[in-house]
Symmetry: C2
Amino acid sequence: MNAPARNDKETVVAAAMRVLAENGLPGLSMRRIADELDIQVSALYWHFPNKQALLAAVSAQIVGSDPQPEGMDAAARALRDRLLAHQDGAEIVSSSLALGLLDLPVRAELVRAAKKTGVDAASAEVAADTLVHYVIGYTFHEQQRLHAAIVGTAEASVDLVPAGAQDRGDDFEAGLAMIIAGVQASASIR
Amino acid sequence: MNAPARNDKETVVAAAMRVLAENGLPGLSMRRIADELDIQVSALYWHFPNKQALLAAVSAQIVGSDPQPEGMDAAARALRDRLLAHQDGAEIVSSSLALGLLDLPVRAELVRAAKKTGVDAASAEVAADTLVHYVIGYTFHEQQRLHAAIVGTAEASVDLVPAGAQDRGDDFEAGLAMIIAGVQASASIR
DNA sequence: ACCTGAACACCGTTCAAGT
DNA sequence: ACCTGAACACCGTTCAAGT
């Protein structure tokens, strides 16, 4: 009855986002994405050369496009919020980034903000990368624990979760403040 | 001719380390480990409940046991060296750690060294975790790029690799110094 | 205590062929 | 330009049965 499915990169990525939201990264298989679109798995390979390329497009969607809040702290927090907004967001972005398949829009703002503290250009790049590694590493860890808590026996009392989440956020802020203090210390040396 | 294979956790982990060294994490399958030991895959499940548990034992081997160098910088460098000594070491350790299946011996020394700078106990924990996230995140990124460079077309000129590796190490040191400066700055505030 | 053999329910990727 | 259908070479995990 329906006309045969006609998709493009955009609709494929949108389907992948839906599968990710429902099944997480372990459930984000090419077959499940194809099922979501009511097409054969092999059809996906017309749109993307392989799964990593598709995941890179998903990553780009997760980290969003240009308008970034100003300042190292706000930019770092914005990245963290984007990652937290999607199941296993940090892990997906981490691997796309490591494979060099993803440009992180927030990095430019981190470099800009670091320079404003008075460090030289090379140090600003280092500061940006250090912050990115911290935010992704911290959030990855956090999301994995969340996943383990869900998969593991549902023994954790429900009312401990919000309290734990608050602590996690506080620890994130404390570590972030430490790194920013380090950047500023590097600036005042010169 | 041979007596039937009789293994324990130790020999299984040793076999896994050999498979990892030769094939990397993507090639570290239960079947390949079983082949290395000349046993059936199912036999591995007598020794470990699942693959993640086996990977946690591999991770423990990678990060080594107790004697750690003193000082935040030396301890962080020691962790990095351990990760770099094994293919995909950072990725394996990262996931075991996130799943709460691995104790990092170096963390205790990082906490101890942080306290020596004069920060309070809570800040010392935050400092240790921040450093751990940085080291693992940085090294993960580095090892993935290395892998991508090998898999990708062998177009990169060979003489650029040592130079690039040196730059990577320098950037690691610069970021490390920044975080440590941040810890010391936190200490001098109080 | 440790292993075999067979099965189940999946994977990513390729390729000729269709419209 | 986009999709089907079928195949290839794999996965992790379970389970009854053997010694």
